[in-house]
Amino acid sequence: MIAAALDPPVAAAGPAVTTFWGVDCGSSEIKVAAVDRGGRVLLLRKQRTLFPLAGHVHRALAGGTGELSPLVDDERVPGAPVGGVPRLLPGQQIHATGYGRSHIEGIHGQLTEIKAHFLGVQHQLQLDRDYTIIDIGGQDAKVIRATPGRVDQFAINRKCAAGTGAYIEELAHRLEVPMQSLPGLAAGHDRELTLNSYCTVFSGQEVIKLLMHGERVENLIYALYRSVVKRVLEMTAISTDTLVFSGGVMNYHPILVPLFAERFGDIKTILAPNAQYCGAIGAAIHGLKEDEENGIHHHQQLRPV
């Protein structure tokens, strides 16, 4: 649990909510989104996930001087985690998602990443057919089958890092290549190799062995991407004709989109706008929807913590 918690400023009847904030507390980055009552995305920002988590979530929410913020002005402490008990400005609501969501106290609601990514994608794309979201994050990968109205089914990768950002990171480290150079290098491949192993450590060993046999780094990186695709598609069968990609990894490694596409005959692929922020946007949208549905303002009911 966290030391500091958000303290709603008004216990009695407050003003109508004007801004809904979504926090996606992921394993490597904390993403923040704000939307207004009309669902317009007002702001997106992020920072690395550091500990203590609560302080850094507050800091990510607070933003820098002059930036839009749900917290009262004196809570902005540039360069240091927010201490004390940050207070909300009137008319602000915060909803959280991501692995860290249950460690943030005093927020107005929380939801799983599955639902958050769906809401973020659907809100931005307004799709009118069934589709599948592939969300590759720092420590897990998800395949979400959705209708325009709801999540129908989902799968999360099991047990190990294969097929996730951590897998790419580990192998980039083995190859001694900076992460940002990976897509460029992969484009220079001249041969299709296959990494067979299921496990990050074993894949690392395969890579080392191939390197020792003089394999080009470009080909190994390309193989690494192909193996991410393979691992993700092993999770569940894709039964829709539209694939939407979200999550930070797709953002940094857009080369994955065509690699997924080529595994299917006739499929429409879409890289979600603000792919990395779909979860945060979805969390904010969740707040907006709940507020609209309930017609009451949750923050009025929150006990001060």
Binding site: Q153, F154, I156
Partner: protein, 389 residues
């Protein structure tokens, strides 16, 4: 009651005039009781090791002695505990060690790990190892299956008579089977109170309440216990007392409990106002076939017909029937890493049942080996699943 049971086991193992038999959880306990054995169930010990999380210390010991992390973690928890010289029975019931067996009796109706498990003790203590090997994964229990198992029981009885030094009294066996039947019927009624809305009990309560039907079936004590428990559950139903206040969704738990995380998982469901109202696991000790007029054939039928020993078509029909009876919104399948026998999500069952309108989700974990379980991931999967229902 459990304290008395273990105190008696402790006394029996110290008393040279009494004999202790170890028995698998769905083994032929009634025969052992009728022959006067004090009966001890290592799987119950395994569950205690898991629930106390002592298994995290004992499994690695067994692993280091050549018993793989991939095999039954009841086995590795228990064998590791023996090697380490520790037992949760000390703290819970004042027993210094698990009662030493005079004979080990297993039945492979559940798995073959029990044979290897008891085999380890047979070698360690030079104790006879006796097994019943019924036909496995049957679609239906046919007369020839019953005849096969009854013949094995008869052979077993001869061997056990030699160990216990007394002849089996048929009336004693009839009484044991009658008491097992009575207890199991009451247990079924207890579990069926879960059909009420809101349910008065959850799987997580059931996993605790089921102790006596495992270790004391065939005794009057179990009958009394379940009679009292049933009355309590009926009161709760009458008063509409909910196991999960504000129950919104009703879930079926398929597979083993995650013993070291019962509380955590119970809280996850509770938070999401989802009540786990039925489970394969608790239902596995309902033996409606027991018939004191035909003790051996009815035992053969009951112990061969158990869920774990059936083919997938039977299992699916059973799950669909219970889903209807309990008003289930969805199934959570626990894929227990070290018990494929109690894991039913590996061969496409969730997909097949979903196609028949019964959605499900798989969580990865294990009965006792918490190295295979992630709080974070299981929470996300369960919460996201409840969101979709």
């Amino acid at each position: 009651m459990m304290r008395d049971y273990f105190a008696d086991l402790g006394a029996a193992s110290r008393d040279p005039a009494r004999k202790v038999a170890w028995c698998t959880s769905v083994g032929p306990a009634e025969i052992l009781r009728a022959l006067g054995f004090a009966v001890y169930f290592p799987e119950n010990h395994g569950a205690l090791l898991g629930a106390t999380r002592m298994s995290s210390e004992t499994i690695p010991v067994a692993n280091a002695h050549g018993y793989s992390p991939e095999i039954c973690s009841y086995l590795t928890s228990d064998v590791g505990a023996c090697l380490k010289g520790v037992t949760p029975l000390t703290k819970a019931y004042g027993l210094e060690e698990a009662p030493r067996p005079d004979v080990l009796v297993y039945c492979t109706n559940q798995c073959k790990d029990v044979m290897h498990w008891f085999g380890w003790y047979a070698r360690r203590w030079s104790v006879p190892l006796l097994g019943i090997h019924p036909p496995t994964h049957v679609a239906e229990v046919r007369p020839e299956h019953v005849a096969d198992v009854v013949a094995q029981y008869r052979h077993l009885i001869v061997q056990l008579e030699a160990i216990s030094g007394r002849k089996l009294d048929p009336a004693e066996l009839e009484r044991a089977v009658a008491r097992s039947r009575e207890a199991t019927d009451l247990w079924e009624e207890v579990l069926n109170t879960g059909t009420a809305r809101p349910s008065p009990l959850s799987f997580f309560d059931g996993a605790i309440y089921m102790g006596p039907i495992v270790v004391l079936r065939g005794t009057e004590i179990a009958v009394d216990y379940y009679r009292a428990l049933l009355a309590e559950m009926q009161d709760r139903v009458a008063a509409a007392t909910a196991a999960v206040p504000g129950e919104r969704k009703r879930i079926y738990w398929e597979g083993m409990p995650v013993w070291g995380r019962l509380r955590h998982l119970s809280e996850v469901f509770q938070r999401n106002r989802a009540a786990v109202v039925a489970s394969t696991y608790c239902n596995s000790w309902i033996f409606s076939d027991f018939d004191p007029r035909q003790p051996l054939p009815s035992m053969a039928r009951a112990y061969t017909r158990i869920f774990i020993n059936r083919d997938d078509a039977c299992k699916e029909a059973y799950l669909l029937r219970l889903a209807g009876q309990f008003g289930i919104d969805g199934i959570v399948y626990h894929a227990a890493r070290t018990c494929p026998n109690n894991t039913n999500s590996h061969y496409g069952m969730p997909e097949r049942l979903r196609a028949q309108g019964l959605p499900g989700v798989v969580i990865d974990g294990d009965l006792n080996d918490l190295r295979c379980f992630s709080d974070e991931q299981s929470t996300t999967v369960i919460e996201a699943f409840v969101e979709t229902l």
